[in-house]
Amino acid sequence: MSDDIYQQAILDHAKAAEDGGSVETPDASVTLDNPLCGDRVRIDVKMSGARIAALAHRVRGCALCQAAADVIRVRAVGQTVDGIAATAAELRAMLKDERLPPAGAWSDLGIFLPVRRHRSRHDCVLLPFAALGSALQQARASRG
């Protein structure tokens, strides 16, 4: 694994993030800012029971933030609220506690391993997951 943050896999995801998709009548929409750099992520979700039925994002951010949002767009549909929370925790542990990347469907989060040694950039990767987590909480609350 290259230790280069700007490896092709990340740049490809970042490029793909230019199209964040759209969700008609989302159950929740959350916008979060990174106070460090001013990056901004909006996540829209539509739920089907406990699972994500559709998801879209808008990112005004760096390549890492864009790439993380794109991984979410690719992987999150069909996932449960608890599953997303577990994945976000695994990603956080991978960056901050030197744990292994998530396995299974989310294994491509391993592309962010080189970010581990750049503490100031951890939040760039985590911001879209924080926005997604808040959106899922909001959707759950709105369902009562």
Partner: protein, 406 residues
């Protein structure tokens, strides 16, 4: 040109060590400057030969520390062309502005107005918002021109008879624009208001004749002007400082304390509660004295020549937008820019791999970023020790970064 940049670089240990396989092109001086050996020596000398508390002890070390601390204040005063007893050591510009917002703010009434601007650093915005919420003052904001300067065209409308203070940057930490202080002071005087200048970015570019500026408060930070961090200074007019209540209470700022009441010490000690950052203040005084001995006309010419080289290089790029004045008039060598399709943090990260240290982001000036509808910029902030190779490394690295991110 009489200025010998190589000789100056040799005075800075961190710069002198960085070469060969690990070049360093340090262009983040607006965040923190490097520190010369002479300042390090002064701090080390205090810590190893006269470390003691100041103002109270009668033993030899305390006497030596007190004398060195007083000399640091005198040197800072010479740097600003003011009286030493009007110079208050703080932990930095942020603390200095908060001191004024609290203590001068205590003299204000609901409905009084304080004028700031859209290009201020958060440290010259948030303390006034806190004062607004605490005292019911009205906070008004000067706009910014398209080239990143204070827009003074509506100054006489914004500065009314209710205005008690105009608090603005002497020089912008983002656009590099130097404020038209004379116009601001004239507007303030016309209504009996005071003027505070945030000099954090101006101070690294030479001594400041605060008396000639005719302002009422001046704030600066040590770590941006070749001194240690954790120290800064506030200058204020004696009459104002006398009128203002203390900011923090504690030791070193009193004359007499009974359990019922306290009589405060005279300024500046009234505003220096607790043990001050003695070694840091000695370092700041030494940095000020060192700066006073330099040939600033030659240094300014050198800094501006480099700024022009950078502006020219960026100006040749069709994908780059400069946020700030395009020329060298009334500016410091701080240059911010945005690159189409390349986020500031990505640009800075890739340039770091070439040893080019820049700052990317909103630079603690989010209202200014909103004004220009940008999430952030890349900023190169130059100091006297930068040279052509630093600018060229930035420009070459930028080519490569954009290619990779494109």
């Amino acid at each position: 040109m009489s200025f010998d940049v190589a000789a100056v670089r040799a005075l800075f240990p961190l710069l002198a060590q960085a070469n060969g396989d690990a070049p360093l092109h340090y262009l983040d001086n607006g965040a923190t400057s490097q520190i010369p050996q002479t300042v390090l020596d002064a701090v080390l000398s205090y810590e190893t030969t006269s470390r003691a508390n100041v103002l109270r002890g009668v033993h030899r070390l305390a006497e030596a520390a007190t004398a060195a601390y007083a000399e640091a204040r005198a040197r800072m005063a010479r740097f600003l062309n003011v009286d030493a007893d009007e110079v208050i050591f703080t932990s930095g510009t942020t603390a200095a502005i908060n001191l004024v917002a609290y203590a001068y703010g205590d003299l204000l009434k609901a409905g009084d107005e304080v004028v700031i601007s859209l290009l201020e650093h958060h440290s010259n915005i948030v303390p006034w918002q806190l004062l607004r919420d605490r005292r019911g003052i009205v906070l008004k904001v000067l706009p910014v021109t398209d080239d990143g300067r204070l827009d003074l065209s509506t100054l006489d409308k914004i500065v009314t008879k209710r205005c008690r203070l105009i608090a603005v940057a002497h020089a912008s930490n983002v656009t590099g624009a130097v404020s038209d202080v004379a116009a601001i002071v004239a507007a303030a005087r016309a209504v009996g208001a005071k003027v505070l200048l945030d000099g954090a970015q101006r101070a690294p570019h030479g001594p400041i004749d605060v008396r000639a500026l005719a302002v009422d408060f001046y704030a600066l930070s040590g770590h941006k002007m070749f001194a240690p961090n954790g120290v800064g200074a506030l200058w204020g007019r004696r009459a104002l400082l006398d009128e203002m209540p203390p900011f923090l209470g504690g030791g070193e700022m009193i004359r007499t304390v009974t359990i019922e009441r306290t009589i405060y010490a005279d300024v500046p000690h009234k505003f220096e509660a607790g043990t001050p950052p003695i070694g840091q203040a000695i370092g700041l005084g030494t940095a000020a004295e060192w700066a006073l001995g330099l040939d600033w006309p030659a240094i300014s010419a050198h800094e501006m020549r480099l700024a022009q080289r950078l502006l020219d290089g960026l100006g040749r790029r069709i994908d780059t937008r400069i946020l700030g004045p395009s020329g060298l008039q009334r500016r410091i060598p701080v240059v911010s820019f945005a690159v189409n399709g390349a986020h500031p943090h990505d640009v800075c990260q890739l340039l770091d791999t070439r040893g080019v240290a820049l700052r990317g982001g909103h630079h603690c000036a989010q209202p200014l970023m909103d004004r220009f509808d940008l999430p952030g910029t890349v900023r190169a902030s130059l100091a006297l020790y930068n040279d052509d190779s630093d600018i060229d490394a930035l420009l070459e690295g930028l080519d490569d970064a954009v290619r990779r991110l494109g």
